[in-house]
Symmetry: D2
Subunit: 100 residues, 4 copies
């Protein structure tokens, strides 16, 4: 997170990184990720080496824009994830089945 913050600050990119822009960028990156898995024949859990590199690339992009969004809103990603996981633990006690 510190790295992303410094990277963007050093390039004066913060003026571009308003929430709507970041979300549109995320939409673009998630779309690229979805593209790799759009057809069922591509949906395997096994990835070829070149496909894995592409998927890792898209995943990194999504994380980087998510961190930029957290910076923008001064959100601590670890804290909100932990808080949500606690809520989820109450909502879905162990032994619960997801069967909807």
């Amino acid at each position: 997170m510190k790295l992303v913050r410094e990277f963007n600050a050093a390039r004066s990119w913060n003026k571009f990184l308003d929430p709507r822009s970041i979300i549109l960028a995320l939409c673009g990156e998630l779309g690229e990720l979805a593209h790799h898995f759009r057809w069922r024949t591509r949906s395997g859990r096994k990835l070829s080496v070149s496909k894995r590199a592409e998927v890792e690339n898209e995943i990194a992009d999504i994380f980087i824009f998510m961190l930029a969004l957290c910076i923008e809103f001064e959100i601590d990603p670890e804290a909100v994830v932990m808080a949500k996981m606690k809520k989820n633990e109450k909502r879905f006690p162990i032994k619960a089945k997801k069967n909807d």
Copy 2:
């Protein structure tokens, strides 16, 4: 719609076009569209000639996958749009202001 149906049938693509695959494809296409408008400096309503061609291309792709989805579910797109517009007319009577 008929054209899309025949196009896919002629290529025996229907087996690929299950709802999840189509939605992932839509996610990919919408992502490409979003990509063109991610930064504010790109958000203008005026499009250059080459940009317009790309945007038209993405828009066509989205419509084509939407039609494939309608075919899959045997939905009449015009009918559901008309029904929704009627609901919207009740929900947002004229003179209503969208100010949330």
Copy 3:
């Protein structure tokens, strides 16, 4: 399309309907559609009556925002779809197999 145009004009909504806003709205609506099909157990081609109503609703929303986008850019949706289908016909001649 005419209906959507008049609906929005009557409510002076055009000022809200810039491309970025429409694409973010599309992202929201596609997300709602994806939500219905996120888990494999939900991915069946058969929809219950209530689920069908929800899916039709999301599909209508997506078409309506797509039409708003076409209005915004003065794009004729039928024309761009036809043009793209022609390109696709050349790109994927009949008998081609989609096997990537």
Copy 4:
């Protein structure tokens, strides 16, 4: 990440968490996030307290599904982010202007 892994394992959810399902779930969550920022009047960097709670909630959901995807593919999120940031540093040397 360990937390997400144990949470899902304890609930035997891994069978649901194939890549396509996770990406559809991400599409749903990103859509909810986009929904909050769809109209320009909502795009401010300042969030009300209740809005902030909702945005934090969506952001946490996206991170959690991203971590589930990393688990699925045995990807180390920190490593891929660091690798991508290094690539970005070469691609966009400091003083570069993002002006496309």
